[in-house]
């Protein structure tokens, strides 16, 4: 039976729960050995992503991409985090910031399956589309 990467990731997280550092080290070694025997170490980046996703689910963390034309102030990031928390019920929001000057202004927020595009680039593009259609 083929076991998915998510199952391996889940097994690891459940195994290390409430364990000491020494025990965790042993568990991780055994886990890596198992992966090697199944020839799954080549997919380590995907496995780590699964581990992180499962941990985020457990801790109710949401990782969001925030793209803007200029670096945003911490107060703005806090405001964005509050907004996402209200919408998702997450306890913690971790932002990955990106600067794209071509946006002109505003921001694009991407979290879970949601994209909130309030950039000037998109606004002007929508305006152009509206003028073209009418």
């Amino acid at each position: 039976m083929k076991v998915s990467l998510r199952v391996y990731a889940k097994a690891l997280l459940e195994s290390i729960h409430n364990k000491s550092k020494a025990e965790i080290k042993k568990i991780i070694d055994a886990w890596l050995y198992e992966l090697q025997s199944k020839n799954l170490l080549r997919k380590k980046s995907q496995l780590l992503a699964e581990v992180q996703a499962l941990r985020d689910e457990e801790k109710q963390i949401i990782r969001a991409n925030i793209t803007s034309a200029r670096k945003l102030a911490s107060s703005t990031l806090k405001q964005a985090a509050t907004m996402i928390q209200k919408r998702t019920g997450a306890k913690e929001i971790i932002f990955q910031e990106q600067i794209e000057t071509k946006l002109g202004g505003g921001l694009i927020l991407h979290f879970n399956d949601t994209v909130l595009d309030a950039s000037l680039q998109t606004v002007t593009a929508e305006l152009a589309e509206t003028i073209s259609e009418n």
């Binding site: 202004g105 505003g106 000037l120 305006l127 003028i131």
Partner: protein
């Protein structure tokens, strides 16, 4: 009787001889001339009569033929008139059909051209709108690019986030 004979010096034997001579001549003439002559005359009269009858019959036939000819001509004329009338009618119908078809074709052509013009117009309008939209977008981006700084951008982002809340 004897007195009469003596008065006129009639010789009985001579008279009888003459009578016999006359009879012989008569018989000879009758068989050799009169009879063939009467026959020829009779035949000729019969031929003439027959010819006259034939001529009459021919005349009658001619008259009859003339009448039939006239009748046939009349019928032919009537038929010709009917044919001409039918041909005229057909020609008129054909003409009407052709006119109708031509009208229809012209209508189709006009409609097609109208549709083509509409499409071209719509295309041109779309192009113009596209150009105008590009110009407006570029102007907007230029104006906003010039006006936008960190402070205004922060204000804008804050406003957007407030609206999303």
């Amino acid at each position: 009787m004897e007195s009469l004979i003596s008065t006129f010096h009639i010789d009985l034997s001579l008279l009888i001889a003459q009578m016999i001579n006359f009879g012989v001549v008569f018989i000879v003439l009758y068989f050799l001339i009169f009879k063939p002559l009467f026959k020829t005359t009779g035949d000729r009269a019969a031929r003439i009569e027959k010819s006259l009858e034939e001529a009459k019959e021919i005349e009658e036939r001619l008259n009859k033929t003339k009448a039939e000819e006239a009748k046939l001509i009349q019928i032919a004329k009537q038929n010709a008139a009917k044919i001409i009338e039918a041909a005229d009618k057909q020609a008129e119908q054909r003409k009407n059909e052709l006119v109708e078809k031509a009208k229809e074709e012209i209508g189709t052509l006009i409609n097609r051209e109208k549709a083509k013009i509409q499409v071209e117009k719509a295309h041109a309008l779309r192009e113009i709108r596209g150009e105008v939209a590009s110009l407006i977008t570029l102007s907007w981006q230029k104006i906003l690019g010039e006006k936008m700084n960190k402070q205004t951008d922060e204000k804008l982002v804050a406003k957007v986030l407030k609206q999303l809340n």
